[in-house]
């Protein structure tokens, strides 16, 4: 398995170039997180990697083959994506939703096989949604709903899963629940996971690798320890921050204390040494 690779990839909305000639490769079996300030192009890049956006130049290769020319159903058995804030029709139950993940494995006449039933059941069990299987999605909490969507992506049974800000708008407890589920999928099923996250500390806590984007370019790429530095936070996120080690996991945690540029207008307070 080579994983996903891009060469000379440029992505645009209308005429505005968002991602410029990007070369990147995602290693199989890892959790990779795309982070960056608002408007840096991280979601755009994710959409490009999932063939939801056609490249202006360059290509995205999956195991050496260009995804935009691959039959879409074949790609759908390799790569699943959960977009940001998906919506389901009113009254759709969790089971019905998850069952739709089986779409790329079904035929025109053969619409529901034993494998489909088994994969759907398993996806619901793995995401701890058994108790809610018959509940309409619109009656669930945000966290349960997000787990249902992840279950749908799991039923698709792809080795690679892309997620666009899966924890945004969730309460902190639900956020961790979702991140722990993602971690489990990676560790126990060796799924390759690429996600866009807003929260840097969450990204650092759960990722094998972080890629920092700024203005459509990769500005840092590596382990969370290597990437989360004071210099990078100042340059890319425009904050002065302390980096400390998470007492639980040892992963880096950034504690921002001032916006860059604020020095000019505010008198610096004496800093307590850590």
């Amino acid at each position: 398995m080579e994983g996903i690779r891009t060469s000379d990839l440029s992505l645009a909305y209308d005429r505005e170039m968002i991602i410029k000639q990007l070369g990147l490769s995602i290693v199989s079996g890892e959790i990779t997180t795309l982070v960056g300030p608002n408007g840096c192009g991280k979601s755009t890049l994710l959409r490009g990697l999932a063939r939801l956006l056609k490249p202006q130049t360059g290509e995205v290769l999956l195991d050496g083959k260009a995804i935009h020319t691959m039959p879409t159903k074949q790609l759908a058995r390799q790569l699943g994506i959960l977009p940001q804030g998906p919506t389901a029709p009113e009254g759709l139950t969790v089971y019905e939703l998850v069952a739709q993940g089986r779409y790329p494995h079904q035929g025109f006449f053969q619409q529901w096989s034993d494998e489909d039933a088994e994969a759907t059941r398993e996806a619901i069990a793995v995401t701890n949604m058994v108790a809610f299987a018959d509940r309409p999605l619109d009656t669930l909490s945000g966290g349960q709903r997000q787990r249902a969507w992840i279950a749908m992506a799991l039923a698709q049974d792809t080795p690679i899963l892309l997620l666009d800000e899966p924890t945004t708008f969730l309460d902190i407890g639900y956020q961790l629940e979702v991140m722990e589920l993602i971690e489990r999928l990676n560790r126990e099923r060796q799924m390759t996971i690429l996600l866009v996250l807003h929260d840097l500390n969450q990204a650092a806590r759960y990722s094998d690798r972080m890629i920092v984007l700024s203005d459509g370019q990769v500005v840092a790429d590596g382990s969370p320890h290597a990437v989360l530095t004071q210099a990078l936070l100042a340059e890319v996120f425009k904050v002065r921050a302390n980096i400390v080690a998470d007492p639980d996991s040892g992963s880096p945690v950034c504690l921002p204390y001032r916006a860059v540029g604020a020095e000019l207008i505010a008198t610096p307070r004496p800093r307590r040494e850590l």
């Binding site: 879409t72 159903k73 759709l92 739709q100 006449f109 489990r184 999928l185």
Partner: protein, 357 residues
């Protein structure tokens, strides 16, 4: 991956799976579907018999059944009244309802908007513009041409709307906006034409525009049956595609649908189903919009069962509307389009009210 033992075998009573191994055919249906379909079918049958038996010339339900089967009844006129006059129009109403309902379910599915209606594809206005325009500008208009003009107008309008909504890929929102825009343009054109018509032609145009099954013939029934026989099975086969499109463009793509192709085919089916009803009966409103709603309440939003129930609900709705049209101001009758509007408009208002809260 580790799954707790307790949930490995969790029961799945909620689904009925139909499988014919020889044909490698399998479909998954919501558990409510068989009972709902059966009930709807029985009610529909009862409504059909009641409808045929009702009229200026009353016929007992048992005699209706005998006459339909071609058996002798107490009155030699029964055979003529039932098979000659009433059955064709009632069967036509049934099939129009089924077609409009399926068309509405498709358009609501692909636009992800359950207030959408086949009229959104410009079917009614396209057909109307051509028919009323023909009445206005032809020296001696021939009513026999109406169906063909209507068909051409309906399909052309759907094509134009789809083409205009295309901007590096179609989008359901653009489809709705352009559909609404063109529908009002068509309405304006029709009103303009109507002002230029002679009184006789204007009356003819009005009856056609409101939709009517008065004076239907067996040849129309056969035409309709042929179209439904082709378009409905195709629609049922695309139920899963509709389910997936209903999750939005991104997920539909991610799950491996050929988004543009499927959307085009489904729009074509929806337009075709609605267009054929316009050609045989004129523009009948609301049935295409109301029926999927009722069906969704009965069996949920998954299209495998929903389409089946929608078709039955639509058929039932128009059979009842036709019966009501003949009954309320008997011995005169209302155009069926007026009756469906009387039933449908308050339902629409109710939905808007409920949504607003």
């Amino acid at each position: 991956m580790s799954i707790p033992e307790s949930v490995k075998e969790f029961p799945r009573p909620g689904w009925v799976v139909l499988r014919a191994r020889r044909l490698t055919l399998s479909v998954r249906l919501d558990r409510r579907v068989p009972a709902v379909v059966l009930t709807l079918a029985l009610v529909l049958l009862a409504a059909l018999v009641l409808s045929v038996s009702y009229g200026e010339y009353k016929i007992a339900p048992l005699d209706v059944l005998r006459a339909v089967a071609g058996m002798e009844t107490s009155d030699p006129n029964h055979l003529l009244v039932v098979r000659g006059f009433r059955l064709p129009r009632i069967l036509l109403a049934l099939m129009i309802g089924a077609a409009l309902a399926a068309s509405g379910a498709i358009i609501q599915g692909i636009t992800r908007n359950d207030l959408a209606d086949p009229g959104l594809l410009g079917i009614n206005s396209g057909a109307g513009v051509l028919v009323v325009g023909y009445l206005t500008f032809a020296a001696r208009p021939n009513p026999a041409l109406f169906p063909w003009l209507a068909l051409v107008g309906a399909l052309a309008a759907a094509g134009v709307i789809y083409a205009l909504a295309w901007k590096r890929g179609s989008s359901s929102l653009r489809l709705i906006l352009i559909g609404v825009g063109l529908a009002s343009l068509g309405g304006a054109l029709i009103s303009y034409f109507l002002t230029k018509l002679t009184l006789f032609n204007a009356q003819q145009a009005y009856v056609w525009l409101t939709g009517s099954v008065y004076g239907s013939t067996w040849s129309e029934v056969r035409l309709m049956l042929l179209w439904l026989g082709v378009l409905l099975p195709l629609t049922f086969l695309l139920a899963r595609q509709l389910n997936v499109l209903n999750l939005g463009d991104d997920l539909a793509t991610s799950l491996g649908t050929r988004l543009e192709l499927h959307r085009l085919v489904l729009i074509g089916l929806s337009a075709g189903l609605a267009a054929i009803t316009v050609t045989v009966a004129g523009a009948i409103g609301f049935a295409g919009f109301v029926s999927p709603h009722i069906a969704r309440r009965l069996v949920g939003p998954s299209h495998e069962g929903l389409l089946l129930c929608t078709v039955l609900v639509g058929g039932l709705l128009l059979v009842v509307a036709d019966l009501a049209s003949r009954w309320v101001i008997a011995p005169n009758e209302l155009p069926i389009g007026v009756t469906t509007a009387i039933i449908g408009a308050p339902y629409f208002a109710y939905l808007l009210y409920k949504r607003g809260r």
